[in-house]
Symmetry: C2
DNA sequence: CTCCTTTGGTTGAGGTCTCAACTACTGATC
DNA sequence: GATCAGTAGTTGAGACCTCAACCAAAGGAG
């Protein structure tokens, strides 16, 4: 385990990121679910759709934004459609493409959930100054930029208009480990 | 969505954190798996065990550190034990407790994987100055601190075993950083 | 010592995701 | 216009996780 202390520090820094995200995510997700009745994944989808240009996004773009594979997004949307929150809209210019759009009910729920989420975040960030937040935004953006969003099986690029950016795709492939 | 722009900004900031984590995580996980043959979850576990006091951790503590429920950690360990990387060690003073410890093979794998991981991280952070890293560490620590470690089904709080960082909650951590 | 509450961990049932194979459609080439 | 490679999305099988019920041991009260 004797590695350069600098490497160790990097690993630890990354560990901080992972922990910050997982702890926050768990807490915020729980709150969202209890107070607004929406799983955090659903909220994420609703938000992305509403922020997209024309309030609709292709499945592929959505998949990238929420870090799911195309297969994953298909089923997630299926469930949300069953719940009456979103609907599939056929693309008029490319019949392969399916857009996701909010229903009135979905938009309504998003609004309520956003309010809850914002409240939670205000608490979480209560000890952060505007400068802190700005710095954090900057660092996270740079971090995000180092690696292109590289999820998915399928789509390659997203259409614009997302809250938190979009970008080119990356290489797939993976080997499962048998147990 | 008539909400205060400040709220909107917070939501977006949090979105950045989520994205930074998910994109990085996916990429690093893939690399780890391809180059070292370890799923990133396993790596995380190996690392936490090795860094724990006495190179052993209780299941509960481990569960918290990797953000899994107790049920989840039980099975994860089962798989890793099957693979010969870790072993369960009975606690001599409390027969309810099971410790996880590395086998020689596990320690070996960890060492190789750490090297891969550190290399990846060096690339990821290549555009970050020492000051940047320090700032990032600080911000993430503060973020982590706003919410206590979340409850995982079962254990309420674990003994010791600070995450992956240098010091337990207290003062903002000092990072040993050298070229 | 016995009862009872609390805590650590494991197990069964159910849910969501990834991977890989497959269908449908587009656009380029001949 | 027919062919073929590439792209968008869906679907089946398998992996992994969470929730909740459960067992075993520890610790305090009577």
């Amino acid at each position: 385990m004797a590695q350069a202390p600098a490497d160790d520090a990097l690993i630890t820094t990354y560990g901080r990121l992972v922990e910050a995200h997982s702890h926050l995510g768990r807490q915020l997700g729980r709150s969202l679910e209890q107070q607004a009745g929406v799983p955090q994944t659903w909220f994420e989808v609703l938000l992305r759709i509403s922020r997209a240009d024309g309030s609709q996004v292709s499945m592929g773009s959505l998949a990238q934004q929420v870090a799911l594979t195309s297969g994953g997004i298909t089923r997630l949307l299926d469930r949300m459609i069953d719940a009456g929150l979103v609907e599939r809209v056929a693309c008029p210019t490319d019949r392969r493409v399916a857009f996701a759009a909010l229903t009135a009910q979905g938009a309504d729920l998003l609004e309520r959930a956003s309010s809850v989420h914002a409240g939670d975040l205000r608490q979480v960030f209560s000890a952060f100054s505007d400068a802190d937040l700005q710095t954090l935004d900057d660092l996270l953006d740079r971090l995000r930029a180092t690696v292109g969003p590289s999820p998915t099986t399928g789509p390659s690029l997203a259409a614009g208009g997302d809250p938190v950016s979009t970008g080119p795709g990356g290489p797939p492939s993976r080997r499962p480990r048998d147990g």
